[in-house]
Symmetry: C2
Subunit: 324 residues, 2 copies
């Protein structure tokens, strides 16, 4: 195979870039003039981009359109919002540009993050860690009695991709009743899958609603006032997908009215949610700042995942986490 | 079978006492003149106690010695400290009094509580829920990068009874390396078991040390300065057993020196730990007020568990959770 030019645009320490360099030995690594700050930041235009074969990072779709040699784009995030539109899909199809993402890098951490939310809620950790209730008092009995175990409860996972699948595995020993909502079931899911038609029933039944929907034209404000109204009273709402899939005014209303028992959000719209945002004042709204996918040595995991795919690309094998 | 007199001494609402009454139909329920406040509170002496056949609750060992008709004591907690001594064991053996506990009632909640601690630590929830770090900043990268998934980490469970076994089940999908410490291995454990001899090696290796040891003469101050010194630097220490098994000064020292990365405690000595106790000021010490076993309808679960055992007792079948 010819010497390939790989444009890698990601925030990584020197030793991780060295790992990347070593992994593509015999090919050429092209680094941007100004590196990006995070895996979700859009890269600036770079003059070198027009002549590369492979792009790893968050390349600008317009730059992709102009890079006539480009054969493969490996996105450094799980979300592909920037590329998930008919124009870009048409471009990728026409130019035969393969597009893969880094879902495999974030599954595990995101699923564990979701489970940490669910068990923290079940065990009332935010309240319990602050409590100085004395054994046997009414306060203590109230706290202790409001704890749960998830057993026999119903969990609805919306968006059953790699993260949802892994969360289902982590939940298996808990003896919960699991259902997944998926726009297009594939038939290979390990849990019962429902589509749009049965969603109102599923929302009305679930004790835990775990939203892992990606951001796209179809999912924007997916959880609107009508959907929150359809939820089982007192259910717990989790969002570890994208903030844009939730109408936050409707969520606020559902929290204030007690329609939902609590909300655990790793994603919001915008991010960071401003200090003065009313959701920040809700006692049953718990927010982490979009860290669900994070883990020690994340940049290294990203690069390793890319290199695994690079070897496949060079050998002409099917790519991992291919999305287009 | 004769009409049995059952002394039930537990804090339960009227509808749960009604459930108990219905479950022992044909036999006599004897309620104490002054009911206890919690499942761990020692009952006062009650003149009716001398003539009962069965005691359910936390009966006074001296009262048991005087109750000559007593054939079975069902303890309303998982811990049996009050009874776990040579004198009482000799009495029970001599008088052929069966003793069972309520371990089956608390397993599930305790195991989920422990897992909530472990995942909250892995995902840095106490810090993350307070963080307003902006995407891509150094603060945010630091927080995100300090999160983990438990994968490939080593977990040492000390005290491998019903709770430890259940925790091991919940941990199975996480791909951790599990080891259990048990004074007397039975050979039927599903995980590798070590005893005293290999404990120093296991402490030096484990990323997570989950202490579920019961309180007894042998376990008091089990985690002393020497054992904390033997721990892998940076390991996380959890206690959901009994507070008395830990030398809290040694724990404080281990936290302050950074020898252990964090401590998550559901039990302390004393309980409630005073507001001014230095452990309360340690930023990496997280305390819940002895609620690990708690769950909705706990009193009902306790009564149901007793009734299941009562049926066995009446039919002459082996008791569940028999401890003596």
């Amino acid at each position: 195979m010819n010497r390939l030019r790989i444009f890698a645009d990601l925030a990584a320490p020197p030793e991780v870039l060295a790992l990347l360099q070593a992994g593509i030995k015999g090919h050429e690594l092209v680094l941007p003039e100004t590196p990006v700050s995070s895996v979700l930041a859009k890269a600036g235009r770079d003059p070198q981009f027009a002549a590369v074969d492979i792009a790893f990072g968050q390349p600008d779709p317009e730059a992709i359109a102009e890079a006539t040699r480009l054969k493969w784009v490996h996105i450094s995030s799980s979300g592909i919002t920037r590329y998930d539109n008919p124009q870009f899909r048409a471009l990728a199809a026409e130019r035969k540009i393969a597009v893969s993402n880094s879902a495999g890098v974030y599954n595990e951490a995101c699923a564990v993050h979701a489970l940490s939310f669910m068990t923290a809620q079940a065990r009332q950790l935010p309240r319990a860690l602050k409590s100085h209730a004395v054994y046997g008092t009414a306060d203590w009995n109230q706290l202790r009695g409001s704890c749960g175990t998830l057993r026999d409860e119903t969990v609805l996972i919306l968006g059953y991709g790699a993260i949802g699948k892994r969360l289902a595995e982590l939940l298996r020993p808990f003896d919960v009743k699991l259902t997944a909502y998926r726009r297009k079931p594939r038939g290979d899911e390990e849990v019962p899958v429902i589509t749009e038609r049965l969603l109102p029933d599923a929302l009305a039944e679930a004790h835990h609603i775990v939203n892992i929907l990606p951001d796209s034209a179809e999912t924007r404000q997916f959880f609107d006032a009508a959907r929150f109204a359809a939820i089982r009273p007192g259910a717990i709402f989790y969002n570890i997908g994208r903030g844009t899939t939730v109408d936050q005014d409707a969520l606020l209303g559902a929290l204030r009215s007690g329609k939902i028992g609590a909300a655990w959000l790793d994603v919001t719209d915008p991010e960071l949610l401003p200090d003065e945002h009313p959701l920040r004042k809700e006692p049953n709204c718990f927010i982490t700042p979009h860290i669900a996918g994070g883990h020690t040595d994340e940049a290294k995991t990203l690069v390793r995942h890319f290199l695994k795919n690079f070897d496949r690309f060079v050998r002409g094998e099917p790519l991992l986490d291919r999305v287009m």
